[in-house]
Amino acid sequence: MQLFINQILNGIGNGVVFASVALALVLVFRTTGVLNFAQGEMALFSAYVSWKLTTTGMPVWAAIAVSMALSFVAGAIIERTLIRPMEGRSPLNVVIITLGLFLGINALVQLIFGTDPQTMPSPFPEGSVPFLADTRIQKDTIGLMLVLLVECLALWLLLNRTSLGLKLRAVAANPDSARLHGIKAGTMLMFGWGLSAAIGALAGSLVASERSALDASLMQAVLVYALASAALGGFDSIWGAVVAGLAVGIADALTIQYVDALDGIEVVLPLGLILVVLVVMPNGLFGKRTVERV
């Protein structure tokens, strides 16, 4: 029983990370209709920026905040210079661009920051507190969950309770019509990419501090799990991404513990999950079914 609870807690710790990256994916998808395969690598770059800042003696939270701000700007610039010129062309062009970014940013990280593994300090206090049945829960797991909760709440409020959010959703739903209502569609697309890059920066920095080492492969497996979470959650739902991210994290931890047959190839789980979701329920658990009448 203790082992089981411990694995669940492990799963939640990982799931929070998957959920955060899935959030960034969902946000770009919801506001700009693009699936950004480079989301993980953008987050990796941001994580390195956070780490670099901490080596100058900057407090961890401050370093992450600065990295998020820089990532916001970088995300907006990527939208304006690389994604926007593809407007009106085949969606395949954008997919190729994000795949190119995936490889390019990864190479850039190794070029700029080197290939030696680094250690990112944790922004959470060390230690654990008692939990159910004589198990203990790590303080950083609690911290991660709190960060995720605050993040989701803030995003949900932004999208659903502010006029900026309404503009973002309007552009996502019908960019031409949005322009006719005086909404600067281009600005909103840049904002969407910037916001998701900032969220990715937070996720990447936290992953880096959770794992023992920060290196260029950090986000690749995470991206696969995050894609699985986003697919399961329905790709346009914030809460869907979160619930699915936690579910994928827990399922992964339990698989590693109890399914010996998949030892070493656990990544089969998210890939299989993506496949099953696409075949059985393409709209995911929380995605809206597209209903349209003319």
């Binding site: 503009k167 019908n174 949005a178 006719l180 209903v291 349209e292 009448r293």
Partner: protein, 235 residues
């Protein structure tokens, strides 16, 4: 001074010129009707006014040149454009659609206006929490009209509002448009294939033919002119 004036407007899409020398005016408080066959340039004329395509010549709104301004800027000046296809934000709720119409307003009467349009179009009020894309074509057209009115426009551009609507719904729509014009003094430029209904509420009519104004005159006169009816309106 006319509210909207087009002088020698010409242009189109890329190399293909759709409009040749369009002169057209809409007086404050009037309904101007643009008739014509498919491909005559009716939709293109509206797109030129709201800045979706760039054209040569001069477009003046309220005395100020707006030629070369993009759709975002033109809409902020008080021109609401309901495009063909109604511009519905399908995945958003009816209420979100309505609020998008009011995004550029800074006054405190948005809630009051919202209630006003829900009272006028009760179906929208009943469905305010529903996805807009799930409504019928007629309801979406009413939504498009109400959403445009939420911006409190001085000029309403309507692109074939009757397209795909049942005759009774079309009649209801034009009754509303006539009321808005008479009671609120709203100026309207409407492009229509349904010439009868449009000319009934119109003050001035234009018949567009291959990118040129072929005939123009008071709406009543166009309506009763046998030659115009036979040659251009086919009814």
């Amino acid at each position: 001074m006319s509210l909207l004036e087009l002088r020698n407007v010409a242009g189109g899409y890329g190399q293909s010129r759709v409009l040749h020398d369009i002169d057209l005016t809409v007086e404050e408080g009037h309904v101007a009707v643009v008739l014509g066959a498919n491909g005559a340039g009716k939709t293109t004329t509206l797109r030129a006014i709201s800045g979706i395509i760039s054209v040569s010549g001069e477009i003046r709104f309220d005395g100020k040149a707006i030629t070369g301004k993009g759709p975002e800027a033109v809409s902020r000046l008080g021109i609401a454009h309901v495009p063909q296809g109604r511009g519905t934000f399908s995945e958003l709720t009816v209420e979100d659609n309505m609020r998008i119409g009011a995004l550029n307003r800074r006054d405190k009467e948005v809630e009051r206006d919202l209630q006003h349009w829900y009272d006028l179009f009760p179906r929208l009020g009943e469905r305010r929490k529903q996805e807009a894309g799930s409504m019928s074509g007629g309801e979406q057209q009413m939504l498009a009209l109400a959403r445009a009115m939420m911006s409190r426009p001085r000029l309403l551009l309507l692109d074939e509002p009757s397209l795909g609507l049942a005759p009774l719904v079309t009649r209801e729509l034009f009754t509303h448009l006539g009321d808005l014009n008479r009671q609120n003094g709203l100026s309207i430029l409407v492009v229509e294939q349904n010439a009868n209904l449009a000319l009934d509420i119109g003050h001035w009519g234009y018949v567009l033919e291959t990118g040129r104004i072929a005939v123009q005159g008071p709406a009543e006169q166009l309506h009763d002119d046998e030659a115009v009816r036979k040659a251009y309106l086919e009814f």
